[in-house]
Symmetry: C2
Subunit: 201 residues, 2 copies
Amino acid sequence: MALKEHPAPTSAATDAPAPRRSDATRTAILDAARARFAADGYERATIRAIARDARIDPSMVMRYYGSKDGLFAAVLDVDLRLPDPAGLDPRDVGRVLVSHFLDLWEENGVLTAILRVGVTNQAGAERLQGIFKDQLTPVARRACPDPEQAPVRAALCASQLLGLALTRYVLRIGPAVALSRPEIVAWLGPTVQRYLTAPHP
Amino acid sequence: MALKEHPAPTSAATDAPAPRRSDATRTAILDAARARFAADGYERATIRAIARDARIDPSMVMRYYGSKDGLFAAVLDVDLRLPDPAGLDPRDVGRVLVSHFLDLWEENGVLTAILRVGVTNQAGAERLQGIFKDQLTPVARRACPDPEQAPVRAALCASQLLGLALTRYVLRIGPAVALSRPEIVAWLGPTVQRYLTAPHP
DNA sequence: CTGGACTGTCAACACGTGTTGGCCTACGGT
DNA sequence: ACCGTAGGCCAACACGTGTTGACAGTCCAG
């Protein structure tokens, strides 16, 4: 860790941290890293390959992100932007959630990267745990009958949603890839709905 | 590949392939490999570590399994031993399947190994695809209303079953680990049941 | 114009990996 | 009792990895 902190040369009080000339390179590295981690997982996504994709020297990665771990940590920031279940029809929450997750997974490779890495890398696994625990559990708490069951219900939803991502975006199992969005929502929506709102069986 | 084929020294016509003196070592390697692949994934499960666990020299692994790929291929043989849905109450097939899968995942680490490896290794992914396609689809064909939908329904089941394994045995998400077997069966059983038998939504 | 910081390149290091071949030991059929 | 051969260990190779430091161009404040 312990990245070099460049002192803001001009306005020190502004909120934006004074754009640097190397910002383009920084984001190029980050984009390449996200894609490589998503495609190859942690070990096989080498710094040399990432640097080649970003068309810079491997040592730049070290300069800007300190280490491979630091680079991956910089990729990890994810906000699921889950909707507040209080604001929608309780009968629709399952379908809305599934649809929202499909959006998230397809908008860029961050979630695929974290999933692929989390399976073999401890830090990635903890991050994935944290994301779903911190962001999905509150939704469950507002949607399920007994708030005390929120963690269990969130975990059940996670099992189905991550299972879909696994089969569709990571393992690329044929029929799971071929399914259309509306079909997925129609099939998985009621499942998630039930995990959230059904009485404890 | 191309393992050395030791000529059977004694009975050449017997069905059993004439036990070798090194069989103990062979299975020790295989056991250690399965555990390591399950715990660490493909890249981080090094031949040296596997050999250390099996208390033999790394070169023995090469001699008996040709290469790391060959070793992993030897670990891959899995028979899910799925029950024939024709033989049970159509109302129970979901619960029976979920229960059966819990048995499979907990009996040894093979499935965890294949899942962990399949996420980053192409051969592992294809193997996982094959297992679920070849063994789960026939079950779906016998259980679902329109046999033509069997692949889709098998994939849906796989998404939920693999998702459970992912959250419970790989990522070890707290609430998913804490759930008891009967609870899991009660929650996921109806889901699998619906994926198999419900009319296309 | 000039000095210092920033951005980038190059070559190298130390290390762990999969893999190989040579050597010694000890079993077991003849 | 013998000796071929299977079983096992050791040392080494070639390679790719993350990481480091020295060096050169480039921008901008003073």
